[in-house]
Amino acid sequence: MAKGFAPSSRIWILALCIVCGYGAIGYRLVQLHVLDAPQLVQEIQDNRYRLITINPKRGDIYDANNELLATNQTFMEVGVDPALIKYEDLRKLPTLAKLLGMDLRDVERAFGAERGRFVDFEGNQRVRWRKLRRDVTELAYEEIKKLNMRCVYGNRHYDRVYPKNSIASHLVGYVRQDGQAVAGLEKELDFYLKGQKGWKESEVKSGKEMAQFRRREVPARNGFDVELTIDSFVQHTIEEELAEIAEKMNPQTASIIVSNPFTGEILGLANYPTFDPNYYNEAKLIPLENRDPIDPKNNRALTDPIEPGSTFKIMAASAAIEEGLVSEQTQFDCGQDTIVTPSGYRARLPKDSHRNGVMTVEQIVAKSSNRGAAHLAVLLGEREFYDYVKEFGFGERSGLSIGVESRGILNPVEKWDGLTITRMPMGHAIGATPIQIHYAMATIANGGVLMQPKTVARLRDVDGNVAMEFGEIAKRRVVTKGTAERIAALLEKTVSPQGTANIASVQGYRVAGKTGTSQKIINGRYSSLEHVGSFSGFFPADEAFRPGPIENKKCLVITVIVDGAEVPGVAYGGKVAGPSFKKIAQKLIPYYAITPSDTERAFAIRDNRNNFNVR
C-alpha cells in the first residue's frame, strides 16, 4: 500500500502554501513584466539608457618618406581641487612643479599656499578646481599619479600635434583646439581626415557603460592617413635657407618652392615668416609701417601676388620662338627709346639697368634686357602675348588645393593701356603668385607642358591599404618640346658668366634659370628703395630633355623670392635669391644622388655656335 508523506490535512496545507507561493511569484512576475513593465522600462531607459557617440580617430599626415607631420595625441588637463588638499601634499609641490614644467610659485599659488604653508585656506574651501596645465602628456601624468595626491587630477582630451613643429606648416595647416580644421591640407582634406562618427546604444551605471546591456553598435570609421609629396629633408633645407635669408637680409617676406617638373609634385614649399601649428594662436600679426600687417599663418606662395620682374621675360621669348617670329640670333635695337605698339601708339620703352645697343634674343634673355623683352612682345601683338601668358598659368589658380589661393592679376587686353605691352614682358603690370612663377619655369623644364601642382600623393586607410592614389595631371601643352629646349638653352646663358645670375651656377651641373627684380609699389608709386628679388630655375638642364621615362630622370625646379630685402644697393634677384638657389641645389644633389652634367661637351658645342665664353 502506497502511503502519503504526511497526513492528508498537512499535505493539503503544504500544497496550498506551494500554490500560494507560486501564485504570489506568478502575480509579481505578471505585475513586473506585464502590468508595470512600460513604466519600469521607461524608468530604466531614462536612468541608464545612453546613445553613446564613438569618435573616430583623425587620420595622420605623413611626408613622402613616411615621416609623421601631424597626428593626434591625448593630453591631460591637470588641475587641483583645493578642498582635497592635505598638509603633506604641500611637501610634494616642488616635484609636482617639475613634472608639470611649471614655476613652483605658480603651482603654490594654485594650491593657495606659500613656502609650504596655506595662505588662502578660506579661498580653498570655495574653489573646487584650479587649472594647472592643459597639455600634460600621459607619461608625465602617470608620474604625477605616483605622487599620490588626491587633490591633483586631470581630464583627458585629444589635441592635434605637429611633431616637426614649423616644418611645412603653411602646407599642412592646423586644427584648432575645438577640433575645427582651419587652414592648409588639414582643412582641404578634412572630409577624408576626420573619418565618420560611430554610435552605440547601451546602458550606463555610475558613469560606466554596462557592456552586457549593449544593444546596437555602429563602429566609428577612422579617417584616412594622408601621404604627401613633401620631403621633410627638402622642406627642412629650404626652411633653413629662409631662416638664413631672414637673418642676413631682414626681408618682409620670402618664399621658396622646390618641385619635380615632370610630375608637378611639390617637394618643399616654405614661407617667411612662418609659425608653429602647435602654437598657432601665438602667431601674431607683424605690423608694417603704412601697410597691412603680415600674418605669419598666410601661405604667401599662394596668396600674395607680386610683380614677377624679369623672370617673366621667358614668356615673351617662348611665345616669339614658338610662333616662329624670331630665332636665338634675331637682333633688336635696344638702344632706341620708343617703339610703335600694335595699336599704333608710339610708346616709350622701359629703361635697362645699363644701356644696350643691338642685341640678339639670346642676349636679351641672358642680360635680361627690358627693352628687348618689350620688342619681342610688340612683335607678337597684344592678343597673342596675352594668350601665351594665360597659357603659362598666369591669371588662374594653380589648382593646388591647400587653402586660399589668389589668381594673381592679369587684366584682359581690353583693359590694357598703351604702355602695358611694353611693361608686361618685363614683369610689370601683372600680379603673379610665387607658385605661378614657379610653374611657368617648371613648364620649360617639363618640355613645354604645364603640370598641375601636387602635394598629396595618396590616401591610406587604417590598415595601410591605398584608398586613393593621386596621379600627375598635365594641364596643357604651352609650347613644343623643341621651343622649351631652346628656351632652356637661353636660360643657361643667364647663369653663365655673361648672364645676370652667374652666382646661381652649380659646379658640374647645367643650370637654367632667370633672375627677377621688381620695384615694389608703395602708396601707388614704384619705390626705388624696396624691391622683390627672385630667381627661378632648374637643374640639371640636360636631364630635363634627356629622353627616357620620368621615373629615371632627376631634375629639380627651385624658385626663391625675397620681398623687401635690406641689402646695400638694389636688392637684385641675382644678389638676394641666386645664392640661395645655389646653396639649396648643392644640398639636394647628394640627397637625390643627382648625376653631374656632361658639362664640357655641352658647353663646348654652344661655345662654337654662339661665341659665348661660358665657363
Binding site: 502506497a2 621633410s232 648643392q586 644622388a593
Partner: protein
C-alpha cells in the same frame, strides 16, 4: 471499508506523484533559473572583459602614438643638428668630392659576390 481504503490509497498516490512532480519541476526550474543567471553572469563578465580589453587597446594605442610623436621629434633635422653641435660630433653632409657614383648594376654585383661566397664555402666542404 475496502472501498474507502482504496480511494484514500488513490488520493495518496496522486498526492505523492504531485509532490514528486512539483519537486521535479522545482528542480528543473531551479536549474534552468540558476543556469540562466550563470549564463547571464558569464555574458556580463565577457562583455566587461571585452570592454576592458578595448580600453586597454585604446590606452596602448595612445602610448604608441605618444611614442611615435617622441620618436619623430627626436629624429627631426633641427634636433639632430642641435645634438651634433651640443655633442661636438662634427657631422656634416658629404661634399661633391666625397661622393663616389656607382654606374654599374649594384644588385648584380652583390648577387655575384654572395653566390661566389656560397660556392667557395661548398668547395671547402667538399
Amino acid at each position: 471499508m475496502n472501498k474507502r481504503r482504496g480511494s484514500k490509497k488513490a488520493a495518496n498516490q496522486l498526492l505523492n506523484r504531485l509532490i514528486l512532480q512539483s519537486l521535479g519541476l522545482l528542480a528543473v526550474l531551479g536549474v534552468f533559473g540558476l543556469g540562466t543567471v550563470w549564463f547571464r553572469h558569464q555574458i556580463s563578465g565577457v562583455a566587461n572583459s571585452i570592454n576592458k580589453l578595448d580600453s586597454e587597446i585604446v590606452v596602448e594605442e595612445r602610448r604608441l602614438t605618444q611614442l611615435d610623436v617622441e620618436l619623430t621629434k627626436a629624429k627631426s633635422a633641427s634636433r639632430l643638428q642641435k645634438l651634433n653641435i651640443d655633442l661636438a660630433l662634427g657631422l656634416r653632409p658629404p661634399h661633391a668630392g666625397q661622393i663616389y657614383r656607382v654606374s654599374e648594376n649594384v644588385e648584380a654585383r652583390l648577387d655575384g659576390k654572395t653566390a661566389g661566397a656560397m660556392l667557395t664555402a661548398s668547395r671547402t666542404i667538399d
